[in-house]
């Protein structure tokens, strides 16, 4: 079956793929050839083709994380030709299409590299550090039931929109992978500013930022030196302004004495 573009020519590519059996072993780059790749394929569909080939030959397919393939779940996480999520800005790996490459190209595919994201196998990494940062304070402490009516507290649309923008972080970790310090500041700041902006987040505003930052440090993420590669590679456009908000929040929390924890 032909794709949507009848003139699209299939491509042959060389892939240089990171293979690593598990967390305790060393990995290395292995070369593969893939043939007849349609430009309409997504990057992950191209890897599916490789994996089916490998499997039929009796070799182990390349492990990689993915699920929604719509750019929203944050599972996919490939470092393609030296860039988190590949060459197209504002795009997750799963939404990257092969028409961005040319016949004969060599493509290097590696996992996220960060001390806090150990490799599970091949291209799959362990990002549970992000979950632990959220567990440290990325919530409003309300139980189910007994909350006020949803319209009781009006929130200016501009504030709600700004909070929404911060809340769209998909937790992919590209910001960490793109940062030479492997800092998680963009990820942490997105949650901190979402909740700092909203009235519901006020009560725990100070402890939240302190606890989340403490957890971030504990997980082994690097310090933020304001380079901005994180925001440049973030697939959903989380802005650097969130880091500025986080810094303000952190200073304000430190400056007061009534915060515990």
């Amino acid at each position: 079956m032909a794709g949507s573009n009848p003139n699209a020519k299939p491509m042959n590519l060389t892939l240089k793929v990171w293979r690593q059996q598990n967390r305790n072993t060393q990995g290395n780059i292995v070369d593969y050839q893939v043939r007849d790749i349609s430009p309409d394929m997504s990057f992950l569909e191209m890897l599916d083709v490789l994996n089916e080939d490998l499997l039929r030959k009796g070799d182990e397919p390349v492990a990689f994380d993915h699920d929604c393939r719509e750019g929203i779940c944050g599972s996919c996480n490939l470092f393609i030709n030296g860039r988190a999520h590949g060459p197209e800005p504002g795009t997750t790996t799963c939404q990257l299409h092969m028409r961005k490459f040319s016949d004969g190209d060599t493509i290097t595919i590696e996992p996220w590299r960060a001390e806090a994201f150990p490799v599970n196998k091949d291209l799959s990494v362990d990002r549970s550090a992000f979950d632990r940062i959220i567990q440290a304070g990325g919530y409003v402490s309300v139980n189910t039931g007994g909350v006020p009516d949803a319209n009781e507290i009006p929130i200016p649309k501009s504030i709600a929109d700004q909070a929404f923008d911060a809340a769209t972080c998909i937790g992919c970790g590209a910001c960490v992978a793109a940062c030479k310090n492997a800092s998680a500041m963009l990820f942490v700041s997105a949650k901190v500013s979402q909740l700092a902006l909203l009235p519901q987040g006020q009560v725990e505003r100070k402890t939240r930022v302190e606890n989340m930052i403490a957890q971030m440090d504990k997980e082994g993420f690097g310090a933020c030196t304001n380079i901005g590669s994180c925001a440049a590679e973030c697939p959903v456009g989380i802005s650097l302004e969130n880091i500025a908000i986080l810094n303000r929040e952190f200073l304000a929390a430190k400056a007061t004495s009534n915060n515990l924890a």
């Binding site: 949507s4 430009p39 997504s42 944050g74 939404q95 139980n143 319209n151 929109d161």
Partner: protein, 644 residues
């Protein structure tokens, strides 16, 4: 077996309150003596796990994802319904109830639907309190839109990412309980069986997807919130990992499976572009508010289009057939999902489909672009247009989108009573995993509502009733039932690894999907279904003889994971076909070609089929037994849907 739905008596509006009063309570000091397993941490599971932990139960939550935030719920776009009536446009609990029963083509249980509509209002309050950034008006209050043909604006939304924001809210509540130590979270852990002791669910067997370790987990009750099974069709709008394994394993242990053939096909998805296609992408329903659906009037013209001899923009107005507007002048492009889908298929079957495969129709925005300009359209649909262009490399501002129906949601699932308990005592099912409140067809924005209703507001009460009747002593984790279930799991895994055939799990999955789509998809016939049954049986046999899986168990092995899921789909597929064959009527998402009127509209048979078909597993390769739960409509009058 007599199926007792345990519907409380009394007037519909009082049933739930009365029931909440009548259920037994667990003494607060005793709550910590009960362990509850929640499998699945999507909307339904995360909300249940958090709420149960807040009450004081010890919760163990499992997901095969690396984080709860990745569940398929994250992908829901359009919104969530609630009978808040903030818009003062005549909405009410009763209207939401009524619309849902009618929209489900009278195949849902009234009492459950009424409760769903009742608690819908609490969901929105809860989410806002968690910091979910719903869309707002300039005055600072919450915004609503009308969705999926509803006549009132009751849909709350967060741009095109409602599922994401709701799930992150539930995930935050869950994370808080993890921090408190009330929830123990097991990520990358796949449940492969339930453990039954003396007829009650008392635990599960899991596989750690990173290490391959097989684990036993005991608890006083088990909640399955493991999502839908749309991926039995291989191609669907569901995330790649969605599967039926948890529900199917429970089914084989005695939980009845209800209405498996009720699947929803969504009319507006991006069409398949090649054999390599791995999933289908939904283009939000809202596009039909402004887009016009058409195909060329003649087969000849469609052929020339497909061959690339003419361009779509060369086709003159008088040569276009706006078939929905022509056939349904009153509703036009806004007919319900099933009607829109079937009509698109019909056009393609006639040879008037477009795109190189001929399996697509146009969704044209030229008129609205003329009316409000490209900027105006971009403000409304910018993100969808951008996504469409990314995937297809075609600019929908300059030429119509190509769309085709795709499998989207499964109304069928594990049978549950009013308490959301399956036919196995102590085993509950919530969210898309149960056969739910949507009857034969789900309305837009109602799945998110149901998942959160079940998790935040229903299960915390109903499970207490069961636990209160269970002694607060630890479950016997040494019971032989655990070892037996574990041994069976191990044996199955060894089998997958030892067949050493030639065909990959994906290969079998695609073949199954093809059969399902062809014969158990948008239109079904008795003959086709019988044929499909044979084909599936044949394919299943081949699977167990010719499957190829490499690698070992004790390692991340994604092929092995797939093999297990495909094996279960191969069994479920046959049951879906049986169910569709049994149901000699057309209703909602189930369209049997034999049962239509002269105009091609669905013919429901309330006299003989106003029941829930709950299938009982009778052993490997044995026909399943059909149990019926009659549906009684005391509040809503049964009528024929008409959209002309």
């Amino acid at each position: 077996m007599i199926l007792d739905a345990k519907i409380p008596d009394g007037p519909i509006a009082e049933k739930w309150d009365k029931h909440k009063f009548n259920v037994k309570l667990v003494n607060p000091a005793n709550k910590r003596k009960y362990d509850v397993i929640v499998v699945g941490t999507g909307l339904a599971g995360a909300s249940a796990a958090a709420s149960l932990a807040e009450l004081g139960y010890n919760v163990k939550a499992f997901t095969f994802h690396d984080s709860p935030r990745r569940a398929h719920s994250i992908a829901a776009q359009g919104g969530i319904n609630a009978a808040k009536n903030y818009q003062n446009d005549g909405d009410s609990v009763y209207r939401l109830f009524y619309d849902t029963v009618k929209g489900g083509d009278y195949r849902a249980r009234e009492a459950n639907v009424y409760r769903l509509a009742q608690v819908s209002v609490n969901i929105i309050d809860q989410c806002v309190a968690q910091g979910v950034p719903f869309a707002r008006e300039y005055g600072g209050l919450l915004a609503n839109r009308s969705f999926g043909g509803a006549q009132v604006s009751r849909t709350f939304y967060a741009r095109g990412q409602t599922g994401q924001q709701l799930l992150l809210g539930a995930y935050s509540a869950l994370s808080r309980q993890v921090a408190y130590g009330k929830v123990k979270l097991y990520t990358r852990s796949e449940m492969l069986d339930v453990v039954i002791i003396d007829g009650q669910a008392r635990g599960i067997i899991t596989r750690n997807l990173i290490t391959g370790e097989i684990q036993q987990h005991a608890a006083h009750a088990v909640v399955l919130a493991t999502g839908g099974y749309g991926n039995v069709f291989y191609l669907s709008t569901n995330a790649k990992y969605c599967n039926v394994t948890a529900a199917w394993r429970a089914h084989k242990k005695g939980a009845f499976f209800a209405n498996p053939c009720f699947t929803q096909i969504h009319p507006t998805c991006i069409p398949v572009s090649g054999d390599y296609q791995s999933k289908l992408t939904l283009m939000s329903e809202s596009l039909r508010n402004d887009g016009r659906v058409w195909v060329p009037k003649t087969v000849e013209m469609a052929e020339r289009l497909r061959a690339g001899q003419i361009h779509v923009n060369d086709i003159k107005e008088e040569d276009r057939d706006y078939f929905l507007e022509r056939k349904y002048p009153a509703f036009g492009n806004l007919v319900p999902r099933d009607v829109a889908s079937r009509n698109a298929k019909q056009m393609c079957d006639e040879g008037r489909g477009v795109g190189s495969s001929g399996l697509a129709v146009y969704l044209d925005f030229s008129e609205i672009i003329k009316r409000i300009g490209a900027d105006g359209v971009s403000q409304k649909y910018g993100n969808l247009f951008a996504m469409y262009e990314k995937i297809t490399d075609e600019d929908p501002y300059k030429q119509p989108m190509r769309i085709y129906p795709a499998v989207h949601y499964t109304m069928g699932g594990l049978w549950v009573d009013y308490n959301l308990q399956t036919t196995i005592p102590g085993l509950y099912a919530t969210g898309e995993c149960n056969f739910s409140d949507h009857g034969a067809n789900r309305l837009g924005a109602s799945a998110l509502m149901q998942g959160l209703a079940d998790g935040y507001f229903v299960i915390p009460y109903t499970i207490g009733d069961y636990l209160a009747k269970t002694k607060p002593v630890p479950v016997d984790a040494k019971h032989p039932a655990f070892a037996e279930a574990e041994a069976a799991v191990r044996e199955r895994i060894s089998k997958f690894l030892s067949i050493n055939g030639t065909r990959t799990p994906d290969d079998f999955h695609k073949a199954l999907g093809h059969i399902m789509w062809e014969y158990c998809g948008m239109a079904r016939t008795a003959e086709g279904l019988q044929h499909a049954k044979k084909e599936i049986q044949k394919l299943r046999k081949e699977f167990w003889q010719d499957l190829k899986v490499v690698g070992v168990n004790d390692d991340l092995n994604q092929t092995l994971e797939k093999a297990g899921r495909v094996a279960d789909f191969l069994e479920l597929g046959e049951l879906m076909v049986d169910d569709a064959y049994n149901r000699n009527e057309s209703c909602g998402g189930h369209f049997r070609e034999e049962y239509q009127d002269a105009k091609g509209e669905a013919k429901r048979d309330d006299e003989n089929y106003a029941y829930v078909a709950a299938w009982e597993y009778m052993g490997d390769n044995q026909p399943e037994r059909l149990n019926k739960e009659p549906l009684e409509f005391e509040n809503v009058k049964l009528s024929t849907r008409s959209y002309e």
